[in-house]
Symmetry: C2
Subunit: 419 residues, 2 copies
């Protein structure tokens, strides 16, 4: 399938947001209340306004009377498909509705983007084989790099939904309890090894029933869409706290997501299979059809006042487990999943040195600082801006997510002082 | 302080619910919608009705127009104190308001109890020294029982809010991925080592600001109240999945809480200090005043059609870290806490064999089955009912939480079959 042409000219050229995409966001301009929209070329189509004026033509609803997409998700896959079809018809080249629709196009350049959905709960996985191997090698040596369960289970842990923020939100370097090998006692200080994790996030759009696991196929059907996701990580805090119950405060400072949720339907042409299995999976984890996606990813680092260096390039297809497999595993114990649950894929590192999705791996634990324009880095320095970008590339178009960016600002001088 | 006498006679005798307590719950009778109430002797005082009729006399509000206590929590500590004072005045011996209030007493015996609040996020700690030592000894030997960070950090991990259920909810034995040492490959099967964890839960009643840690004193002030909490745990699933990122599906089947949240004010006379520190804590974790509570706890196990055996007796004062210390630590990275967050204390085991808060410890990993009336147990068997009880005992009264009970029903024959 090629580009679907739109009467919005900027959607037909070099853009993340052709008519094939229609990603879901929440935006505001000036003093306006935040409202729901889809990106199209250089514009955002104001769905809250279209719905109010009856242009969308839904019988049910309202779906866009609140500034988040959870109500649409809850409405279910038939509504998701219907909504895409209606918006596509309104924006397609030659659409008769253009005069009614055009007044509701808002330039993206002047809009503020907000969290696109309310995060119910957030789970982060560890399902990239190269990342797990790299981190394991640093901590335990190459021969014991992968834990024995890793090729059998999509390993994950629960994260903190209250820390999920939208692209553009500044991220303050955290304080935390750390202990370096040369000291006998721990200290409480700002993190010195603050890092990113390049991930994709799957947004759960349908709930599962408490007590009832879902199959991988059912899990895939429950997913509404995908975002870029940066799971900020304080490696020094993590190293001291994570045994025996896993990362906690190291991962709770912030998790940044892209402002646009790309619906699963827009990614359909880019489905691809997980890599060959090194161990046969238990049947409950088998994928009936391809459930990963071919999405090129990159990370840019820009120092304050400096120029950006792309420090890593990789692809979502590097994952060992798909989001559908992760979600199915998440329900095995009977755990109920809800609309708005967010699943981080785990860090997506490729096999090459410049395809690693964290500074921990890029600098090999800080031992091999890597070059950036005008300097070098082991971990993030104050006022660095980190940007994740991603795009699935089709015939004459691409499906993008918008930047997933965050600037790291200096730690509080005294975290307990109130101004 | 002694018993505060009430005109509700059953509140002056042998009860968990004297006028000193006034714990917060949500109840319904017959076809009635769930509503907010406080327990008083053999009755529940219907606060939704009192508010509707203007008997509570609050200027602000409504606080009880929704069937959960989150709005009261959000209103803040001054409202919590005012509410207790108003209800106490209405129910005290000789109260002039008795004729207006008495019609709104509902017998507890006929009421159905619901979740008392909406759980925002759920965090479980590992802050009982005896439990950590026992489990560590079983897994790593007595000399390496406590991880090196344990005496410095209240170790915790994020749990799953969607799994929290109210007392009385049946708990279905989960399926999960397990691997026994004698097998080369893992299997997917019902858990054979299903267990309880005897804990207290702290209910966060005030939010903290993203990016700003709170002190232990501020954390204590943010806590609305406490519940009994049973963190059901599948030990065989846990053993295989928990490295390196902590427990996940092993803890996601269910977490049962008592139907009554006891407000912090009711526990004030029972404050006690955490035990002597074996290592000096970092200043951010120091407790300015006593923040643990002297609450006697017990666990009862009743087989189907059989008689109850009390299998463990212990005390909340056995904790090494208080909930206020845990909450303060939880915010160190800047993690935002929200109204309705629930913090599990960690398993509360005493030093004696019969004071251990899990079957894992009571049966020493299944190697030493313990006696119950008419049989023995290593782990929970199908149709066993487990009950946690707790009470702080004052001069002539006690402050209880009501039973925190759950019956374990057999696993699904085929977890993917839909009826």
């Amino acid at each position: 399938m090629g580009l679907i042409r739109s009467w919005v000219e900027s959607a037909n050229g070099d853009t993340d947001f052709p008519l094939n995409n229609l990603p879901c966001g929440v935006f505001s301009t000036g003093d306006q209340e935040p409202r729901c929209g889809v990106a199209i070329g250089d514009f955002i189509l104001d769905l809250t306004a279209l719905e109010e004026e009856g242009i969308l033509g839904f019988a049910e609803g309202p779906l866009f009377d609140v500034p988040f997409w959870n109500e649409v998700m809850e409405a279910g896959p038939a509504v998701w498909a219907d909504l895409r079809a209606r918006i596509t018809a309104l924006l397609a080249e030659g659409a008769a509705a253009r005069p009614q629709v055009e007044p509701h196009l808002v330039p993206r350049a002047g809009a503020v983007l907000h969290m696109p959905f309310l995060v119910a709960e957030y789970t982060d996985f560890y399902a990239g084989r190269n990342h797990a191997f790299n981190v394991g090698t640093m901590f335990r040596g190459a021969e014991n790099a992968l834990p024995p369960n890793w090729l059998h289970i999509p390993i994950g842990y629960n994260g903190r939904a209250s820390s999920v923020v939208v692209s553009g939100t500044e991220v303050r370097r955290p304080w935390g309890q750390v202990k370096s090998p040369e000291h006998e006692l721990p200290a409480f200080q700002p993190s010195r090894r603050f890092d990113i994790e390049l991930e994709m996030g799957a947004v759960v759009g349908q709930a599962s029933r408490h007590g009832y696991p879902v199959t991988v196929a059912e899990a895939d059907a429950m997913i509404f869409g995908y975002v870029l996701l940066n799971d900020w990580s304080a490696r020094d805090i993590q190293a001291w706290e994570y045994q025996p119950l896993g990362p906690f405060q190291a991962k709770a400072t912030a998790t940044t997501i892209s402002p646009w949720v790309v619906m699963k339907a827009a990614l359909e042409p880019f489905r691809t299979s997980t890599p060959a299995r090194e161990k046969v999976l238990l049947p409950y984890l088998a994928e009936p059809t391809p459930m990963l996606y071919d999405i090129a990813l990159e990370v840019g680092l820009t120092p304050e006042g400096g120029e950006e260096t792309v420090i890593a390039r990789t692809n979502y297809a590097e994952m060992y487990y798909s989001a559908a497999q992760q979600l199915a595993h998440h329900t095995t114990s009977g755990c109920a999943m809800n609309v708005g649950d967010l699943l981080g894929s785990g860090t997506i590192s490729g096999p090459e040195k410049d395809s690693r999705g964290s500074l921990l791996e890029l600098s090999w634990g800080g031992k091999e600082p890597f070059a950036i324009k005008g300097g070098s880095r082991s971990f993030i320095e104050d006022n660095d801006t980190l940007v994740l970008r991603g795009a699935a590339r089709g015939d004459g178009y691409r499906i993008g997510f918008g930047d997933c960016a965050g600037k790291v600002i200096p730690a509080l001088a005294n975290p307990y002082e109130r101004n």
